[in-house]
């Protein structure tokens, strides 16, 4: 059962890698402006950029070759599991990604952990009494947080925690203190949604006959929620986590630039501006594979939480 799931996801990863490489290549070609000039400007600074420099870069990188040749070369490289060299810094893409992915993973994990701390907790409390004051307050809060773009939310958090309270550094990296504000920015956005999903799931569970049965059996609030509520309500919440990874990856791009955090999102933005095709392909590939891996994890977790999913498949077979 499990092996089928893993094989399917592996196959998906392979197809995704091929698609990502092709799409990145095609999209980078359709961007306006001359790639050699963009690369030259990123390498040597816009002030020093000239046509002469752009021509030197074009020759050095073989950008004058026919597009199909360039595309084939980039696919062959990928087939050898070689991500190539950054056109701007000249360093191996894999080396740059190792550093950046490390930073981004810490940020994403902390953001996820914080969001799980805030979101589902608030959702559970709100869902036990739908329409109660906790429910209405959390609804208002999540609309507000969700409506704020991460850029603005991040600046507000810097104002509060760095400027007024002086507790945390506004930007930079290297210690856990630097990680907190960007992670919080992401976590609040994530929690805004996951609290509502949890609330709906909990409300549904609270209205279910088995919940009423538990209550009549004489279980008090906490034991009842723990024994009959949490696991049942967790299924949609966990399934939803897979979707949230999209928000996380998207958010990382904005938040890392704001907080001067050397992660994969920051690298992607700069690589696109610089037309650094190998860097773009590398970062997007890693993000795509990460996404597939997260979904595999979520699938597995859902099956653990809800054995019926396995049973149904057995029946269908």
């Amino acid at each position: 059962m499990m092996s089928r799931l893993v094989t399917a996801r592996l196959l998906q990863a392979l197809v995704a890698a091929l698609l990502i490489a092709t799409l990145c290549f095609a999209m980078m070609q359709t961007l306006p402006g001359d790639a050699a000039m963009r690369i030259a400007a990123s390498r040597y600074g816009p002030d020093a950029m000239s046509q002469q420099l752009a021509e030197a870069v074009r020759l050095e990188l073989g950008l004058e070759r026919p597009l199909l040749t360039q595309y084939a070369a980039s696919l062959m490289q990928l087939a050898r599991l070689d991500l190539g060299y950054s056109l701007v810094s000249g360093a191996p893409v894999i080396e740059e990604l190792k550093v950046q992915l490390g930073h981004s993973l810490w940020l994403a994990l902390l953001a996820l952990a914080l969001s799980l701390l805030f979101g589902p907790t608030l959702g559970l409390l709100a869902g036990i009494r739908p329409g109660g004051w906790v429910d209405r307050l959390s609804l208002g809060l999540s609309i507000l947080l969700r409506a704020l773009p991460p850029f603005v939310l991040g600046l507000l958090l810097i104002m509060v925690f760095s400027l007024w309270l002086g507790w945390l550094p506004p930007a930079g990296f290297g210690s856990w203190r630097h990680l907190l504000l960007p992670a919080l920015t992401l976590a609040l956005g994530l929690a805004a949604l996951s609290s509502r999903v949890t609330r709906d799931a909990m409300a549904e569970v609270a209205a279910a006959p088995y919940f009423a049965y538990g209550r009549q059996k004489g279980l008090d609030g906490l034991a009842l929620a723990g024994r009959h509520g949490a696991r049942n309500a967790a299924i949609p919440v966990v399934a939803y986590l897979g979707l949230q990874s999209v928000y996380l990856i998207e958010g990382v791009v904005v938040v890392e630039s704001l907080f001067a955090f050397p992660g994969i999102g920051h690298a992607l933005v700069h690589a696109i501006i610089a037309r650094d095709v190998p860097m773009v392909q590398g970062t997007v590939l890693i993000m795509g594979l990460l996404f597939i891996f997260i979904n595999l994890l979520v699938d597995t977790l859902c099956r653990r939480l809800d054995p019926r999913l396995n049973a149904w498949q057995e029946v269908r077979r």
Partner: protein
């Protein structure tokens, strides 16, 4: 409220603990700027390593922008102007402990010459060591050569800094600070080089962080997280104005925002039209509102920082829309039914290309659009990326470009002018325009003359550009720096060659 206190206490405790762990070390100077570190090759991000005083060049500039010795103590040129000798400073050690030799310097300059830096644009035929001197031979006389050797792409690195293929594999310089870690593209850390040839720097460790967003940079200065913050937008200064722990310093830099015109196009070939376009611009208004400093309104192309080039006696560029309309009418451009000027059935509708790497450019473009509409010109604005101006210059499709030009690519503006106003024009300079008298002056300046004649020629260049307007100057530029009151001894270099970290000290 209880929750906030609880969280606060925890954070405070953790802060104290992490502070205690570092307590034994002296305070690290935190420098923040927008520039990312693209790599260690000097032609790429060399300016960061020059400014942070890791690597040094043969020459540099003093506070007045005059050329000054650095790794070379003196230099002289042969009578025919073809052979330059640079005498090296004695007793200089690289960060790896090896001594600075003429051999090593020659090798670094060869590297710079073969690469994409400014030295590749000079007709150097040979670079050779000769005792304690380095000799550069030229194809034809070029008096600005010493200024080119202040450029970061000519940094002198230790022989061990290069690999077998001649690429830079480690940044081993001679400066007062030594690289201890590098996390491209954002951060580097430095420690004091105890064996530097100059006075021992007071500050032992330094960190540079690249922060792209001006808002974040300002907040870092305001919160005390950064001690020295470079390149703040005028809009960001508000956060800092009432902060007692921070002061701001502003210097004018040799950079001008200007309009590049395609003089070969039928719209701009008539000098009267170019003058009218210039007269229709309210520079003081634009500088006052958008750059928050009226004094940045450009009265001529070269800002006052460029002494010898800025000519105080030159009649300033004026704002006079009435005169502009009159000149346009004289050139045959008359208002049509739609209020837009027409001539021989052609409507005065042109497009301006600009880019957003400098955040003020698109805003200035909108203001120009509105002001030219007043005199009957229909201007379309296209905001793209900086390379569009270069590529559209090359294919001839550019009508107007709005850009910000740095006249201190090398500390002598001659370097930029030769690129911009040569016989073919320049990617960032004239388009479809050249002037024999100007060319003669630039050639004369390159070959070298005595000082008085030099100044006359420099001001002659400024005069011709003011008269002919192949580019229309808009506004000069300034560099805004926020500095913590804990720091003493700040020197802000308008040429941005160095941050002079070695002269900084913590206030008592």
């Amino acid at each position: 409220m209880q929750g906030v206190h609880w969280l606060g206490r925890w954070l405070l405790l953790l802060g104290v603990l992490s502070g205690a762990a570092m307590g034994s070390q002296a305070r690290t100077l935190s420098v923040v700027g927008p520039w990312e570190i693209v790599g260690i090759e000097p032609a790429r991000s060399g300016y960061i390593f020059s400014r942070m005083q890791v690597a040094e060049t043969l020459t540099t500039v003093d506070d007045q922008g005059r050329l000054a010795p650095q790794l070379a103590t003196s230099w002289r040129v042969s009578a025919d102007g073809l052979e330059w000798r640079f005498r090296l400073r004695e007793g200089v050690l690289f960060h790896d402990g090896s001594a600075l030799t003429a051999d090593g310097v020659a090798r670094s300059l060869q590297h710079a010459r073969a690469g994409h830096g400014v030295l590749s644009q000079v007709a150097v035929t040979a670079v050779e060591p000769a005792g304690d001197e380095v000799v550069l031979r030229l194809e034809h006389p070029f008096v600005a050569l010493p200024a080119y050797l202040a450029h970061y792409s000519t940094q002198v690195l230790a022989p061990t800094a290069y690999d077998d293929q001649g690429r830079v594999k480690a940044l081993i310089g001679t400066g007062p600070y030594r690289l201890t870690s590098l996390t491209p593209p954002l951060q580097l850390t430095l420690e004091r080089n105890e064996r530097w040839w100059g006075d021992r720097p007071a500050i032992a460790s330094v960190r540079y962080l690249a922060v792209g967003k001006s808002e974040t940079r300002a907040l870092m200065a305001a919160s005390g997280e950064a001690d020295l913050v470079y390149s703040l937008l005028p809009t960001s200064l508000g956060v800092l104005r009432h902060n007692p722990a921070v002061r701001t310093e502003t210097v004018t830099v040799p950079r001008t925002r200007l309009l590049k015109l395609n003089v070969a196009s039928p719209f701009f070939s008539d000098l009267r039209v170019r003058r009218a376009l210039s007269l229709a611009l309210d520079r003081r208004g634009m500088a006052g509102v958008m750059l928050r400093n009226e004094r940045l309104a450009a009265s001529q192309l070269f800002p006052p920082t460029l002494s010898g080039w800025h000519d105080v006696d030159l009649a300033a560029l004026r704002y006079d829309p009435g005169e502009a309309r009159r000149l346009l009418a004289e050139a045959g451009w008359l208002p049509g039914d739609d209020g837009i000027l027409h001539k021989d059935g052609v409507r005065f509708a042109v497009s301006l290309t600009t880019f957003s790497s400098w955040p003020e450019l698109p805003v200035l473009a909108s203001a120009i659009q509105a002001q030219w509409r007043e005199v009957g010109i229909d201007l379309q604005v296209a905001v793209g990326n900086s390379s569009e101006i270069v590529s559209r210059h090359r294919d001839g499709s550019l009508q107007l470009g709005l850009l910000s030009r740095n006249f201190s690519l090398v500390p002598d503006p001659l370097g930029t002018l030769l690129q911009d106003f040569g016989p073919e024009g320049g990617d960032w300079g004239a388009m479809g325009w050249s002037d024999a008298a100007l060319q003669q002056m630039l050639d004369g300046l390159s070959a070298g003359t005595d000082k008085a004649e030099r100044i006359a020629q420099q001001q002659g260049v400024a005069g011709i550009l003011q008269q002919q307007l192949p580019v229309i100057p808009l506004a000069w530029s300034e560099l805004r720096v926020a500095v913590s009151n804990d720091l003493d001894g700040l020197r802000v270099d308008p040429f941005e060659l160095s941050y002079h970290l070695s002269a900084l000290r913590w206030a008592e």
